[in-house]
């Protein structure tokens, strides 16, 4: 394994010394990208209609295997419900999160004051673009060339990596799952396990392409390969970017919850650390961690606590041997200050455990990428239509069976199924006047009377055998888009139950 490559600076910029480039990403150009466009790291501005994506997702090799793996994890996680001691934490955690949301701005103001007193530079970003501007500004001002990053879904909302790369800054994801999806040019398919959709063989093949040599294929070997490459980058990076799990308003403490230790590396080794949080990650008191950390860990992985909780108050002080010289906190809004004022406020109670995704039969079947959004699964289907920059995901609430498993799985008791229903109604109201809506109206009218109902049954029975199966695919114009991913029901026996029932009714 070579250490970080010394790259000579181009002749046009003479005096700067040679800079370190990423070791972990060496050979990245050799990787042949095979993922479909809807799984890409940067989501296309106009995504395909959901029925097309989900249909294609079902046909992907690997989707069935992922379904089996996720179902196993769901049984492990959720069979038997919440044990009594965790159920008690769940009640308290749900209340703490709602207390936070009742005065979100107040808590953010307290957090900001405390953090600034601790030496943290606090930035508020109204939009993802603002956040990108702030972060690239910090990087430029400090002559940053290599960034190591630990998991942050908020930075996915702003497609931060692509923007930094456009500015000539290398970014390396260091969470093992994030590293896998970064190399494959995909985005995370799950908020806690970004590469849950990849088999060991796929990861092995990917790493062999990267290394351009044969590699041993056990999970330990593959992890060791990533570890060696990433260690060089931890050691030499100029800047670390991390997410935040909880930010305590009373002390200004930023807490990160991980198992691998990459967040500890990212926040302690480079000379600059930028922590990025969506505004709802604030909590009232440091003491609340005693409830929220074990609750998050249980909901996410069934651990009592994860291996690491990193608690950060500020940058290194005089006399301290290590730690970053600067600590920046970027607080992202992206529509959340409107959400907190409205009837979907509780969705901001989310602590990003990912358990509603695992519990969702639709998510397990189509996979996280098929939602075509940064956040998939039930939380994604609720949050995406509400965020300011992802309104194109307004149809996501329909990607649910409304079975209610997500509510049972949620450690902070967010009424996700109710919200999915309400968001569907919002969607229908917003799309009023479309031909599809008139068809629904017509149908409702027809079935208002027994006579109308009988007529449609008869018509369906007669028409069924006459319609070839392929008719949906031959529809003209907009009808074709609607028909994609749909199938004609068998109507040969339409009305048969009614006839059967009438025959037997005592006269």
């Amino acid at each position: 394994m070579p250490d970080a490559a010394e790259v000579p600076t181009p002749e046009s910029s003479p005096p700067t010394p040679p800079r370190r480039r990423s070791t972990a990403l060496l050979g990245r150009e050799r990787v042949v990208v095979t993922r479909p466009d809807w799984a890409a790291a940067t989501i296309p501005a106009h995504r395909k209609p959901l029925p097309i994506i989900t249909r294609a997702a079902l046909d992907q090799p690997g989707t069935a295997a992922t379904h089996t793996r996720l179902s196993g994890k769901n049984r492990e996680q959720n069979d038997g419900g919440w044990p009594p001691e965790i159920a008690a934490l769940r009640e308290r955690g749900a209340e703490i999160r709602r207390e936070t949301l009742r005065d979100l701005e107040g808590h953010l103001a307290a957090l900001t004051a405390k953090a600034e007193a601790n030496g943290v530079v606090v930035h508020r970003a109204a939009t993802p673009d603002d956040a990108v501007g702030i972060i690239t500004g910090i990087a430029r001002a400090n002559d940053v060339r290599l960034v190591v990053k630990s998991k942050s879904m908020a930075t996915e909302e702003m497609h931060l990596n692509a923007h930094l790369e456009e500015n000539g800054i290398e970014v390396v994801e260091t969470d093992l799952g994030e590293y896998i999806v970064q190399v494959a040019d995909e985005r995370p398919s799950h908020i806690v396990g970004p590469a849950l959709h990849k088999s060991k063989a796929e990861v092995g093949a990917l790493f062999e392409e990267l290394a351009a040599e044969r590699l041993p294929q056990e999970a330990e070997d593959l992890a060791a390969f990533a570890r060696t490459r990433l260690r060089a980058d931890f050691h030499h990076a100029d800047m670390g970017i991390s997410g935040v799990n909880f930010a305590a308003a009373d002390t200004g403490t930023l807490t990160l919850v991980t198992n691998e230790g990459n967040a500890d590396m990212v926040t302690s080794q480079p000379r600059i650390h930028v922590a990025v949080m969506p505004m709802e990650k604030v909590i009232p008191r440091l003491r609340d961690l005693a409830v929220l950390v074990p609750l998050l860990c249980y909901a996410a992985t069934k651990q009592k606590v994860t291996v690491y909780q990193t608690m950060l108050n500020g940058p290194r002080r005089d006399g301290e041997p290590d730690g970053p010289e600067q600590l920046h906190l970027v607080i992202l809004d992206n529509g959340r200050s409107s959400i907190v004022e409205g009837r979907y406020r509780e969705v901001l109670a989310c602590i990003r455990c990912g358990n509603c995704q695992i519990a969702c039969p639709v998510y397990r079947t189509v996979g996280g990428h098929a939602y075509g959004s940064v956040y998939g699964g039930p939380i994604g289907a609720v949050l995406t239509p509400l965020l300011a920059n992802t309104k194109q995901g307004r149809d996501l609430p329909f990607l649910s069976s409304l079975c209610g498993a997500c509510f049972d799985a949620c450690p902070v008791k967010i009424p996700l199924p109710d919200m999915l229903v309400d968001l569907r109604a919002d969607y229908e109201a917003a799309t009023r006047g479309r031909p599809r809506r008139w068809l629904w109206r017509l149908w409702a009218k027809a079935w208002d009377s027994p006579r109308g109902y009988r007529l449609t049954m008869t018509a369906a029975r007669l028409a069924g055998p006459l319609l070839p199966r392929a008719v949906l695919r031959r529809l003209p114009g907009p009808g074709r888009g609607w028909a994609a991913g749909r199938a004609l029901p068998a109507t040969r026996d339409a009305g048969a139950f009614r006839a059967w029932f009438t025959d037997r009714r005592p006269r």
Binding site: N118, K200, E320
Partner: protein
């Protein structure tokens, strides 16, 4: 709960997280154990901690944690319920020591055992002035990111050893 109960629970919880506990008769024996665990490896030591004082002459110290085989630390408190070690940072107690070397050895007198995770948060909150930060560690680094197979020692240490000893308060 007595110290012995706390000790028993701590050892069970640590073992469940794949850490290793060693119980020694006193501080001198604990320090001998640390020296033995470091064998001939290079060591980075948190010299700013009272529980590690006196160890520096007996270990092959290196200044850069990236050159060390073992990181030796004290702790603020250790949690019986979960097997967690809480380490705050400051002069002589660096972020890299329990993180960068592939092996972490912690020295813990029984007086530092607390019952619950909430007690450890309280201990952190009570520090005055507050430190620049703290790390809570429960066993060796791990990942389940490849097909949910458990892999140890991904970025943080692959081994965590905790050397415990009574500090005259056993009852």
């Amino acid at each position: 709960m007595t110290r012995i109960d706390l000790l028993a629970r701590f050892c069970a919880a640590l073992a469940a997280s794949d850490g290793v506990a060693y119980i020694c008769a006193d501080r001198a024996e604990a320090h001998d154990s640390v020296v033995a665990l470091c064998a001939d490896g290079t060591v980075t030591l948190d010299e700013g901690h009272p529980d590690t004082a006196g160890l520096s002459d007996r270990l092959r110290l290196v200044d850069d944690p990236w050159d060390a085989d073992v990181g030796v630390t004290g702790v603020d408190v250790a949690v019986a319920e979960t097997g967690t070690l809480a380490l705050s940072w400051g002069p002589g107690r660096r972020r890299s020591t329990p993180l960068v070397p592939p092996v972490h050895v912690a020295v813990v007198p029984l007086s530092r055992l607390v019952a619950t995770y909430a007690d450890a948060i309280d201990a952190l909150a009570a520090l005055d002035p507050p430190p620049t930060g703290a790390q809570f560690v429960t066993g060796p680094s791990r990942s389940g990111d490849i097909e949910m197979n458990l892999v140890k020692g991904v970025h943080g240490p692959g081994q965590v050893h905790v050397v415990l000893y009574p500090a005259g308060e056993i009852r």
